[in-house]
C-alpha cells in the first residue's frame, strides 16, 4: 500500500510539473526513480526506457507503465498511469472550458496569431535533427512519407506500417545472407 501511494505521488508530480514532452522528461524521471528512491539500477532503468521508446504513445506514459509494473505489478502500472494523467486532464479541461470564453478577447487572439507560426518552428526542430542523422535511403523514405501524407491525404498509419514491414524484411534478408556466407 505504501509503495502504491508513493508511485501515485511520484507520477502525479511528474504529470503536474514536467512541461514539454519527449526527452525533456527523462532526467526528471531518472532523478525521482533512480537517484532519490533507488527503485531501479541506472543501467536497468535506461535499458527499460529504450524499450519504452519502441512502444507507441508518450514516453512518460510508457515509463509510468514499466516502473509501476516492476514495483507493484498490474495495479502499480494502473496507479502510475492514472496519477500521470490526472494533472493533464484537470488543467486542460479547465482551459478548454474557460479559455474558449476568452477566444474573442483581443489579447488572447493576438497571442495565438503569433503562437501559430511559432508552433511550426518548434515542430521543425526535431524533424531536422532526426534527418541529419540518417542515410540517403532513410531520407528519401522520409520525404516520400511527407509527400504522401501532405498531398494525397493517405493515413499516416499506412506509412508507419510500411516502415515497420520494410525493417522486418531487410532484417530477414540480412539474416539469410549472413547464414549463406
Amino acid at each position: 500500500m505504501k509503495i502504491l501511494l508513493e508511485l501515485f505521488w511520484v507520477f502525479l508530480k511528474i504529470g503536474a510539473f514536467t512541461l514539454g514532452s519527449g526527452y525533456a522528461i527523462v532526467p526528471v524521471i531518472e532523478r525521482e526513480i533512480v537517484d532519490k528512491r533507488h527503485w531501479f539500477e541506472r543501467e536497468d532503468f535506461l535499458n527499460q526506457f529504450t524499450l519504452a521508446q519502441s512502444a507507441p504513445g508518450p514516453f512518460s506514459l510508457n515509463t509510468a507503465v514499466f516502473v509501476g509494473y516492476r514495483m507493484k505489478g498490474f495495479r502499480g502500472s494502473l496507479i502510475s498511469v492514472l496519477a500521470l494523467v490526472i494533472p493533464s486532464f484537470v488543467i486542460i479541461l479547465l482551459i478548454a472550458m474557460f479559455l474558449e470564453g476568452f477566444r474573442e478577447n483581443l489579447y488572447v487572439n493576438a497571442a495565438f496569431k503569433a503562437l501559430r507560426p511559432c508552433v511550426v518552428g518548434l515542430i521543425a526542430v526535431p524533424c531536422i535533427k532526426m534527418l541529419i542523422n540518417m542515410n540517403i535511403w532513410q531520407i528519401l523514405l522520409g520525404l516520400a512519407a511527407l509527400f504522401l501524407i501532405s498531398f494525397t491525404g493517405i493515413s499516416p498509419i499506412y506509412i508507419l506500417v510500411f516502415g515497420a514491414i520494410l525493417g522486418i524484411f531487410l532484417c530477414y534478408i540480412g539474416e539469410k545472407r549472413g547464414l549463406e556466407q
Partner: protein, 174 residues
C-alpha cells in the same frame, strides 16, 4: 454516436502513436480534421500550442482538449483521454512482461529503425499542415517562425519561446 467515433479514432491514434507527441499530431490531424472534419487545422494548431505550454504529455493534453472541443462535454474529454492511453498501456505492459524475450530481438530493432524515417515524414507533415494562410497571415509570422526554430535549435526551452511568442503577438497585433 459521436462518442463511439471519438473513442475509435483515439484508440487508433493511441495504437499507432509511435514517436510520441509531435508524430501523433499527424495522426490526430488525419483522423479528426481530414476524415471526421470535427476541427479545422487552425483549431488543432491552437490546441497543440496550449498542450505544449501546459504540464503533462502533449498527446494526453491534446486528447483531453480535442475530446472536449468535439463533444462539448467532460465525458467526451474523459473518453478521448482514456482511449488515447489504453493501447500504449496494454502494449507497454506486454513489453514489460516479455522484456527479457524481446529486448534483443533483431526484427523489432530493424522495424523501429525503418519506422524512424516514416516518423520524420509524419512530424514534417504536421509542420507543413500548419503552414497556411491563417497561420502566416503577415510577413512578421515568417520571422516569428524562423526565430522560434533557431531558439529551440540552440536549446532554449520551448515553453519559454512560446511565452515570448505570445507576448510578441500581443505587442504586434493589438
Amino acid at each position: 454516436m459521436i462518442y463511439l467515433q471519438l473513442f475509435l479514432s483515439y484508440l487508433k491514434i493511441g495504437f499507432f502513436g509511435f514517436g510520441g507527441g509531435y508524430a501523433m499530431i499527424s495522426l490526430i490531424s488525419n483522423e479528426i480534421v481530414t476524415q471526421r472534419g470535427w476541427l479545422t487545422e487552425t483549431q488543432l494548431s491552437d490546441i497543440v500550442a496550449v498542450s505544449q505550454m501546459t504540464p503533462g504529455p502533449i498527446a494526453i493534453n491534446c486528447a483531453t482538449y480535442v475530446g472536449y472541443t468535439v463533444t462539448g462535454s467532460v465525458f467526451g474529454s474523459l473518453l478521448a483521454t482514456f482511449a488515447c492511453c489504453l493501447p500504449p498501456l496494454t502494449i507497454m505492459l506486454a513489453m514489460t512482461i516479455f522484456y527479457v524475450k524481446i529486448k534483443d530481438n533483431k526484427y523489432m530493432h530493424s522495424a523501429m529503425t525503418w519506422m524512424r524515417p516514416a516518423l520524420v515524414g509524419l512530424i514534417a507533415a504536421a509542420a507543413v499542415m500548419f503552414v497556411n494562410k491563417e497561420s502566416f497571415f503577415h510577413w512578421s509570422s515568417i520571422i516569428i517562425c524562423i526565430v522560434s526554430f533557431v531558439a529551440v535549435w540552440k536549446k532554449v526551452n520551448p515553453i519559454l519561446v512560446m511565452f515570448a511568442a505570445g507576448v510578441v503577438g500581443i505587442i504586434l497585433y493589438t
